[in-house]
């Protein structure tokens, strides 16, 4: 079989199984009377390309498949009372997962549709308008005001965000694009260098989140050549 399909394209072992079932054009319930288990095991050759956690998820399902397969080769064990046949159990898990995958397509359509509606921030609503007197305001008052703002930011977490629209701003996708461009151009970039042009705390945070996202999606990795040395971000080519 060909390995044009890479394991890391899948959402996990169940996703891979559904893919194999789809190309074999069989029913989920016929999975154990098909070649699917063998095909799945074939894919395990790609395991070294995966990180430990992902690899272990694929191995766990491989073990289940092999267990179920081997069980079917043995004479039927005496009825185990209430315990459910692991084969039925597995088929149900797969069926359920497929139902969710199918529903995701519908949810994507809803999401796309809902993107056309825009909202706005609350208005700054000032109740009384006495003349503004800043004469007695001290740096400590300024500091306290900032603490209050931050307290409200914390309180807001957990409530629907008031902020739907930033008329001008920066977004994680934007930052990912910028970092990708940098990596494309230079191959590797010093970690601190990524934040050089960021003009505010929030922008630094967004840049950092973008970097985390890229590392998570394996678009970038981090290397440190010596203990306490500079950290470099490198692009990962797929």
């Amino acid at each position: 079989m060909s390995y044009e399909i890479r394991l890391n394209q899948f959402e996990g072992p169940l996703d891979l199984l559904l893919h194999l079932i789809k190309i074999a054009e069989i029913d989920i319930k016929d999975i154990f009377v098909s070649k699917i288990t063998e095909q799945y095991i074939e894919y395990m050759k790609q395991l070294p390309e995966l990180d430990m956690e992902t690899a272990s998820e694929f191995i766990a399902i491989a073990a289940t498949l092999i267990y179920i397969k081997s069980r079917s080769l043995l004479p039927a064990p005496p009825a185990m009372g209430e315990e459910e046949d692991p084969r039925e159990l597995f088929i149900r898990q797969l069926t359920e997962y497929k139902a969710y995958k199918d529903i995701c397509e519908k949810m994507k359509a809803l999401e796309q549709d809902a993107k056309g509606t825009f909202y706005k921030l609350p208005e700054e609503y000032i109740s009384q308008k006495p003349p503004l007197d800043m004469s007695s305001v001290s740096a400590a008052d300024l500091y306290n005001a900032m603490l209050q703002v931050m307290q409200r930011v914390r309180d807001r977490a957990g409530k629907p965000p008031a902020r739907e629209i930033v008329l001008q701003g920066f977004t994680i996708p934007e930052k990912i694009a910028r970092i990708s461009a940098l990596l494309e151009e230079r191959g590797r970039v010093c970690f601190w260098g990524l934040f050089e042009n960021d003009s505010s705390t929030m922008e630094v945070i967004v840049t950092f989140l973008a970097l985390l996202e890229m590392m998570h999606q394996r678009m970038a990795g981090a290397v440190q050549e010596e203990h306490l040395g500079d950290i470099y971000i490198v692009g990962i080519k797929d």
Binding site: P13, D113, T117, F118, P160
Partner: protein, 183 residues
Amino acid sequence: MEDDKIKGIIEAILYVAGEPLSIPRIAETLQCPEREMRRIVREMETAYGSDGRGLIITRLGDRIQFGTKKEYAPYVEALLMPVQAQTLSQTVLETLSIIAYSQPVTRAEVEAVRGVKCDYSINILLQRNLIREVGRKETVGKPILFGTTEEFMRHFGIRSIKELPPLHIVGSEAYMQDEMVLD
């Protein structure tokens, strides 16, 4: 108070608030019976739907908010360049759909369905305020139970969880009967 005045006040309030406001609270403030208020809101929903209007009343459960008509999105974008809500990745969406349809649900239960760890997507969903902790499960370790938020409804343009497309799981009727789904 006449209907017209109430409608005017609601329009003003929704504009200033920018956030969803609860119908019972509006009714209370305007000293109008809640039933009446619901009728008036329904009438307004119809009126805003008509031509010549650009706003719609978005309903999120018991709360209402102004939003703009979808068909005018290109003009809003051209003139104001707002940053749109990002769409979710497949990984995150899979996790979210399981939470939406089986809430309240624990992380372990979600992971059992997907067959993979879900810490990453659950964190993203919490950060984006699409899910929240709704309690603890009375079981070993008292794991956190997750459910969807109002922001979830807004993100998918639905008024209640019941408006989600029905989930069909062949051969396992036990799961996901309508009554299991929370409002």
